[in-house]
Structure formats: structure tokens, C-alpha cells
């Protein structure tokens, strides 16, 4: 064997390794800049809001010396650039500051509220995708039929009806009238003494504790708000599925498959949907990330102690540490989910793999 022959694969491996390192490096640069931009914009918007943040900490009735002392302790008397520098420095060492509203470390608060939102969003997205994709496929296959029209109307209603109104209707009908589901909140008070949250994801906690009565109750609490959120992502997912499917179904390979005599269901589910799945992953991921921000209105109507309410409340009180912390978490969620859908792309679409 000549040396040239052995060097070739080695060089190829090297090139491949450096391509991967390059990809990772450029990814990291993008992430770092995104974060810094996110922080800077949120920080300065927060500081120009005409609300005195000290007011939120000590309340309207606190005496003047307490107000002044708190202002100094929080560093609000420093110039903005110094405050920003201190903040970024803290974040880099893992300190996101203290929420002035709850007096807890921001990350402790977020660890408390985020699981509630994430649990709701996850169940909602599962419902939305599980129903939205088949409906979208149906609408695309039976294009122009009554079924297509029905799916279109369902989607339109999902888009245009205000969510808190629908939430109240759902509560009135399924909770107050029919009694099929439990009411607002995450769990009944009767479980207060028997159920101890471990992870903060109550469904998961119930499974860990093997507490099936609690699981049933939690499920009956989550199903209504989750269905509501699921309905909204269903509206979006089914429309997108329909258009992706229509695009695929008009491709030549479908004609070829039909000519080969493949069954229609094999063509639709095995070939067309398989190809439509690639962009669909992004759609679902983005709608999931959207739900993870927390829906303020759903959380209000269903008394759900989640991230949406937390951030809105903080914003109204100029509790900037909490808002910034929340923004970073949401930003991370978006970046993380984008990354995840990128990985899924590569699994689903061989052309995007790094060679």
C-alpha cells in the first residue's frame, strides 16, 4: 500500500473534523451574540420604562430612608452601562440576581414556574400535533372536499377566537356544566397532604410516586387548558401540513410511485408525509417554543402558576432581574429547540448531513 493511499482517508477525516469544529464554533459565536443582544435590548428597554423599580420592592408605604437604602443596595444609582456590566458579570458567574417582587433568586423562581408552563405546553403540543397532522393530511388528500372545508373552518376558528374567551367557555361547559374535567389550578386541595412534587412536572411526579389517584386528578386538571393550547397549535400545524403535503403530492416521484402500483396509503404516509416531515418538524418545534413562553391569558383563566404570568407580573413592576432571567430562559428554549430540530433534520434528511 502506498503512503498516498493511507493519507487520503486520514486527510478526509481531518477535513471532516475541522468542518465539524468550524460548525460548532460558528454556532457558539451566533449563540453568544444572540444572548448578548437579547440581554442588552431587554436591559435597556427595562431601564427606560418610566417605573421606579424600588417601588416594587419596598411598596408605596415604605419610609424614605428604606427607599434610598434599597436603591443603593440594588445599584440603581449607578450609570446604566455600569449596571449592565455588573449584570452581565453576574450572569457569567451563574448569578441572575434576585427578583425584587418575590425576593427569591430569579433562577429559583423560574425553576418553580417553568415546569408548570412546560408541562402544559408539552401536553398541548402533543395534542396539537397528534390531531393536526392527520387533519392536515386529510385536507390535502381530499382537497376541495367537505372534509377540507371543515378542517379549514376549524383552523380559522382556532386562529381568530380570543383564547381567554374560549377558555372561559370551556370551563363553563366542561367543568361547571358537565363536570367532565376538574377546574382551575393544577391539582385538587385534597392531595395537599399526600402529594409531594419532586420535579415540578406533576404528571411525572405522580408516576414517580406511583400515586395513580393523583395522576388522574392532575390529568383532569391539565386536559382543559392543554386542549385549548393544543387547539391553537392544531390550527397552525394542520394548515402547514396541508400545504406541505400538497406540495409533495404534486411531485413527480409520487406519480412514479403511483405508476409502480404502490398503495395510496403507502404513498401518502410512507412517501409524501415522510418528505413533508422535514419542514413540519420546524413548524411543530416553533409552535412548541411559542407555548413555552407561557400564555398569560390561559394561565390567568386557569389559575396556572406558570412563566407567562410570572414575566408579565414582573414586567408590570419593573422587576428587571426577573424579566431578564425569563428572557434568557425563553431565549435558551428557542435556541435549544432550534438546535434540536436541526438535529432532527439531519436524521430525517440525509442531504443535510455533514460529510
Amino acid at each position: 500500500m502506498s503512503t498516498a493511499d493511507t493519507q487520503k482517508p486520514a486527510r478526509r477525516a481531518n477535513r471532516r473534523a475541522s468542518a465539524i469544529i468550524g460548525a460548532i464554533a460558528s454556532f457558539l459565536v451566533v449563540v453568544a451574540t444572540t444572548y448578548l443582544g437579547l440581554l442588552a435590548v431587554t436591559f435597556f428597554i427595562g431601564r427606560v420604562v418610566p417605573i421606579d423599580p424600588v417601588l416594587a420592592i419596598v411598596g408605596d408605604r415604605a419610609p424614605a430612608h428604606v427607599v434610598e437604602r434599597t436603591r443603593e443596595a440594588m445599584g440603581f444609582n449607578l450609570p446604566y452601562y455600569q449596571q449592565f456590566y455588573l449584570y452581565v458579570k453576574g450572569v457569567l458567574s451563574g448569578d441572575f440576581g434576585t427578583s425584587v417582587l418575590t425576593t427569591n433568586p430569579v433562577m429559583a423562581d423560574i425553576r418553580r414556574v417553568f415546569p408548570a408552563t412546560m408541562e402544559l405546553a408539552t401536553v398541548g403540543t402533543i395534542i396539537g400535533a397528534a390531531l393536526g397532522i392527520p387533519l392536515g393530511v386529510l385536507a390535502a388528500v381530499k382537497r376541495g372536499s367537505v372534509a377540507d372545508q371543515i378542517v379549514r373552518v376549524v383552523g380559522l376558528v382556532g386562529y381568530s377566537v380570543p383564547i381567554f374567551w374560549l377558555g372561559l367557555i370551556a370551563l363553563l361547559v366542561f367543568y361547571a356544566r358537565l363536570g367532565w374535567t376538574s377546574g382551575p389550578g393544577r391539582i385538587d386541595v385534597v392531595f395537599e397532604y399526600t402529594f409531594t412534587p419532586v420535579t415540578g412536572f406533576y404528571l411525572l411526579d405522580a408516576v414517580i410516586n406511583r400515586d395513580w389517584a393523583a395522576f388522574k386528578d392532575i390529568f383532569s386538571h391539565i386536559i382543559l387548558p392543554a386542549s385549548l393550547l393544543g387547539y391553537f397549535s392544531l390550527a397552525y400545524i394542520s394548515r402547514m401540513t396541508r400545504s406541505f403535503m400538497l406540495n409533495e403530492l404534486s411531485q413527480e416521484y409520487i406519480v412514479a410511485a403511483r405508476a409502480k402500483g404502490l398503495s395510496e396509503s403507502r404513498i401518502i404516509w410512507g412517501h409524501a408525509l415522510r418528505n413533508a416531515a422535514v419542514p413540519l418538524v420546524t413548524v411543530i418545534a416553533l409552535s412548541y417554543a411559542g407555548l413555552l413562553e407561557g400564555s398569560v391569558l390561559t394561565e390567568t383563566v386557569f389559575a396556572w402558576p406558570g412563566l407567562g404570568l410570572y414575566i408579565t407580573n414582573s414586567l408590570q413592576n419593573a422587576d428587571m432581574n426577573a424579566v431578564l432571567g425569563g428572557t434568557i430562559v425563553i431565549g435558551s428554549v428557542f435556541i435549544g429547540i432550534n438546535l434540536l430540530s436541526d438535529l432532527l433534520y439531519r436524521m430525517l434528511d440525509p442531504r443535510t448531513r455533514i460529510r
Binding site: A64, V173, G179, A303
Partner: protein
């Protein structure tokens, strides 16, 4: 903002929702709360700490009022008096400077530790040294970080002596001690939970007096103990079997955080909660018409007012101040906007407090107002802005006032804003007119007299930022009088002085007082003995029973 908008359109949408629900005529489903548990739906997101030395918000006042005991308690039967709490009796020395409290013998904290005068003294010490928002209620007696261990001390196991710096009216001192900041905490238990801190210029002590632990912990002796609190979610009170007085009939009281009035009503109707605490007028009406439900209410120590910044030359004219008091349609507001949630009140002391003046001299009178405006040289009226937070009922009242004031040529431009935003502007004295509310800091007439009718230094950098200061109302005479009332040891004479101050405010102040808040609750029919108190720390739940 979002939430404000939501509330605004809520009625209409809810009506729509109700109509749609009628389509389904199935019998409503019904759940029931456990027989030994009272479940309340209440917006408890203002609870940020459970430490009595730090807490100064409304919902925690109720939790602490039920879970802690103070030296003396407000007498709910006659709210101008106090009654024994941990203290069995007390005496005031002839010079009015020394208060000696004898504790009831044999009392125990919920933890089982005995309650001693040492616990009382330490409770005072930690409040003064931590110096959080409510600390001024105690430090106004001359207690400082340096002298507190001398001025508030245990002379023996059952005797606690408090030395004040001036011969204050005893009613004032005792009233202040009923506040939650006066709660007696379990020193022995708390010492197990103190955290070390590095002393700084601002905080010269090497430990946190258990403040960190107490944010969510409990070290008290009230009829209930606080078992659990998850912010924005739930708070659980549990019967304290070590309590010396009448034991609560119910084993526990659970507060569930529910913000939305319509949601609370649904939960109450379905029996998922026994009490709903934030019902808005529309929902309240529906609840009061429901045969299975009842309502209860009590006037609270919060008053709503429109204030006139004296930096504005037009508003500074005495005739204009009085004219505006004639331009509020009190009757219309009382019968619609605040129906069930407030009562018209034109004096600044809430009903029930010592020396409260019950006088409502103003009515809606355009002719009278025009006459006064003409006297002020403003025959054709004037234009003015008004900062209004975008929540009800203040938005509605501001709009009503805009309309009625317009009839006398006063053109009011409403500047809507978020609560904290309008408040920031108000506190900087940058407003013309402002509509706001004021809740008493502690159950004594000095609390409101001090803020409405005293202004020690009207300069822009004045440090005592009372409401009079915020409106640049410079009143040296009334300021002196307010101070004098504090030192009047005869309770009747003292009450008379406060009535005079309120009369002066009616005649000359830049405050157009509109109404006193009423707290209402919707109850399930089987809930008995549920009574709201005059302030949140006297919303006692111990007597409540369920049939």
C-alpha cells in the same frame, strides 16, 4: 396593558359565554371540599414573604394575623379599642414613657416552646435591626438599632417593658402594637435557622435574625400555623393545637391563588372552593342571587381619592379645590361603579377608627362649582391632566369625573398608565391630578392624619413624603396639630382633635375623598361564622364552621 384590557371586555364576553352555556341544559356538576377544610379562592400574588418583620402587603396580613399572636389585638367588636393578646394586662407609667406588659402564664408557641418576655423583646429587636418596610411602626416610638435592647426588654420571664421617647397617647402605642409587625416570634426556634451575613455599612449585624428562613417559614403561636406556601399557588393554614384560646373548629384553611373574578365565581358555584374573595360587581350580583350561596362584607381601611397638585397654579386656588369637590357625582358613583365594593366617604379616616368623622357635606352641584370657579377668576373653566391607573374602579370613576367636571368647564385630560407607572410620577410630584387609594399602615388615626394633613418639609427634597407633600400642600399649622394629637393622652380629647383635622381637610385640602373600600366575599351556604374584619390582619378564620 394586557390584563387591564382583559378585564375591560370581560363582562361582555362572559355574557356571551353564559348564553352559550345555556345551550347545554345539563344539570351543573358539583364537587365538595373536605368537611374539615375551608378552601378560599383569593389573589394572593402580593405575598412575597411570611416574615412579620418584613411583610407589609394585604394577603399576608391575613395569614400572619391568623397564625401569629401579638401583645395586644384589635377588638373587632369595638375597633377603637384593643384587647389582650399574648399580654394579659398592661400599665402605663405616669410620665407616659414606660409600658409594662404582663404576659399570660403558661403560653406555648406552635413548636411547643414556652412564650416568654424574652421572645417578645427579641421580636422587637429583630424588627428594628432588620429595618424592613414596616419597621417604622415600631421605630416611631424612638426605638433605634442602638437602643432597642434597652428600650424593649424582658425584666423577668413574664414581664416585658417598652420605653418610648415621648409621652404618646397610649391608644396610639397600643394600636400600633396590634399590627403584624408586632407579632411575637419563637426565638428559640428561629435561632436554629439564622444565617450568617457579612456586616456592611448599611447592615451592621453578623446574622439575619432568621429573616431568610422566615420568608417561607413559621415561628408563631396563633390559632393556626402556616404549613405550606407556594407562591402564586397555595397557602395552607393548619390548626395549632398548642393555641391557648378557643381552638378553631376547622382543621385547616387553604387559600388557592385564583386571580380572575369569573374563574372564582365558577369555582364557587361548582363547590370547588367555599369562599371567593375577588368577585367583581357583576359576578357578585350573580352570587347574591344564587340560593346556594351568600355574601358577606366589611368596610376596610382603604380610601379612594382624587388629589390636586398645588404646584399647578389653578389647583392651588382654594375656590378651585372646593369647586372640584362639588363636581363629583357621588350618588351615581355609589350606586353603580362601586356598588357592593365601596361606600361613599368624604373624610379621610375610614369608618370605625378612633376619631373618624362621619360627614359627607358635598354633593354634585354644577351651579355651586361654577360660582366658586368664577370667584377664582376662572369663569370659563380650565384644562387639566389627570393620571389614572388602568384598573377598575378608578378608570370608571375618572371617566365619570371627566364628564361631570366638563359640565362646569373643567376639561380633564385622562393620562392612563400602569399602576406602578402612575405611582412613580405621583411620588415625584409631576402630576396635575391623580386618582388613587390609600390604605392605613396600622389601625390608628395617626396613620392617615399624618399622610393627609401633615407635611413637615414641602421642599422638593423633603424626606417625609406624605400625601400632603406629594401634592405640595404646605400646611405647617395642621402638621403641628397632627403632632399634638399624637401626644394627647386622653382618648376622647384625642379623638376630637382628629375630627378637627378631618374638618379642616374637608374645608381646604386638595383631596377630593370619594369612597371607602368594602371587602366582599362570596360564600357557600354551608359556611357559617365567616366574618371579615376592619383590616386584613383581623380577617379571623378561627371561628368559621361548616355545616
Amino acid at each position: 396593558m394586557f390584563i387591564g384590557k382583559l378585564n375591560g371586555h370581560f363582562r361582555v364576553l362572559l355574557a356571551g359565554a353564559a348564553v352559550s352555556a345555556l345551550v347545554l341544559s345539563a344539570a351543573p356538576s358539583f364537587a365538595e371540599t373536605p368537611a374539615d377544610t375551608l378552601v378560599q379562592a383569593w389573589a394572593i400574588d402580593d405575598t412575597i414573604t411570611l416574615d412579620p418583620a418584613e411583610s407589609f402587603e394585604l394577603s399576608p396580613a391575613e395569614f400572619l394575623g391568623n397564625a401569629y399572636d401579638m401583645l395586644v389585638r384589635l377588638d373587632v367588636a369595638d375597633t377603637s379599642k384593643v384587647k389582650p393578646g399574648v399580654a394579659e394586662s398592661w400599665t402605663v407609667s405616669d410620665d407616659g414613657l414606660t409600658y409594662t406588659f404582663k404576659l399570660k402564664p403558661g403560653l406555648k408557641f406552635a413548636s411547643g416552646n414556652p412564650i416568654t418576655a424574652e421572645d417578645v423583646a427579641w421580636s422587637f429587636e429583630r424588627v428594628v435591626k432588620l429595618d424592613k418596610s414596616p419597621a417604622f411602626i415600631l421605630t416611631q416610638f424612638g426605638l433605634t438599632k442602638d437602643n432597642v435592647t434597652e428600650k424593649a426588654k424582658a425584666t423577668d420571664e413574664n414581664t416585658f417593658v417598652l420605653t418610648v421617647d415621648k409621652a404618646y397617647a397610649p391608644s396610639f402605642v397600643l394600636n400600633c402594637l396590634t399590627a403584624t409587625v408586632g407579632a411575637v416570634v419563637d426565638k428559640k426556634l428561629l435561632l436554629e435557622h439564622v444565617a450568617a451575613v457579612t456586616p456592611t455599612d448599611d447592615y451592621k449585624f453578623d446574622n439575619d435574625f432568621g429573616n431568610g428562613w422566615m420568608k417561607t417559614g413559621y415561628a408563631g403561636s396563633g390559632p393556626f400555623k402556616i404549613r405550606d406556601w407556594r407562591a402564586n399557588e397555595i397557602l395552607v393554614l393548619e390548626r395549632n393545637d398548642n393555641y391557648y384560646g378557643d381552638k378553631p373548629a376547622l382543621a385547616r384553611v387553604i387559600y388557592r391563588h385564583v386571580k380572575e373574578s369569573a374563574t372564582q365565581r365558577l369555582m364557587l358555584e361548582s363547590g370547588d372552593v367555599d369562599v371567593a374573595r375577588n368577585l367583581e360587581p357583576g359576578d357578585l350580583e350573580a352570587v347574591s342571587k344564587n340560593a346556594d350561596l351568600t355574601t358577606t362584607s366589611a368596610p376596610k381601611g382603604t380610601v379612594y381619592y382624587i388629589s390636586l397638585n398645588q404646584k399647578n397654579p389653578n389647583l392651588a386656588k382654594p375656590e378651585v379645590r372646593q369647586a372640584l369637590k362639588y363636581l363629583v357625582d357621588y350618588d351615581a358613583i355609589g350606586s353603580t361603579l362601586i356598588k357592593g365594593i365601596g361606600e361613599i366617604r368624604q373624610t379621610y379616616q375610614p369608618k370605625g377608627v378612633l376619631g373618624a368623622l362621619d360627614s359627607d357635606p358635598f354633593n354634585f352641584d354644577v351651579a355651586k362649582a361654577k360660582e366658586l370657579l368664577e370667584k377664582a377668576g376662572l369663569k370659563d373653566g380650565f384644562s387639566i391632566t389627570m393620571d389614572v391607573r388602568n384598573t377598575q374602579p378608578v378608570t370608571g370613576i375618572a371617566e365619570a369625573f371627566q364628564q361631570t367636571a366638563g359640565q362646569a368647564g373643567v376639561k380633564v385630560e385622562i393620562i392612563p398608565g400602569d399602576g406602578k407607572q402612575t405611582l412613580t410620577k405621583y411620588r415625584a410630584r409631576n402630576h396635575d391630578m391623580y386618582i388613587g387609594q390609600w390604605g392605613m399602615d396600622y389601625w390608628d388615626p395617626n396613620s392617615n392624619a399624618e399622610t393627609f394633613t401633615s407635611n413637615p418639609n414641602n421642599a422638593d427634597d423633603g424626606t417625609v413624603k406624605t400625601l400632603a407633600w406629594r401634592n405640595a400642600w404646605d400646611v405647617p399649622e395642621l402638621t403641628e396639630k397632627t403632632k399634638a394629637a399624637l401626644l394627647e393622652r386622653d382618648a376622647d380629647k384625642r379623638a376630637a382633635m382628629y375630627r378637627e383635622l378631618q374638618q379642616a381637610a374637608l374645608d381646604t385640602s386638595p383631596f377630593v375623598l370619594i369612597f371607602q373600600q368594602t371587602e366582599v366575599a362570596g360564600l357557600r351556604g354551608n359556611v357559617k361564622n365567616y366574618k371579615l374584619g376592619p383590616n386584613f390582619d383581623s380577617n379571623f378564620v378561627a371561628p368559621v364552621t361548616k355545616e
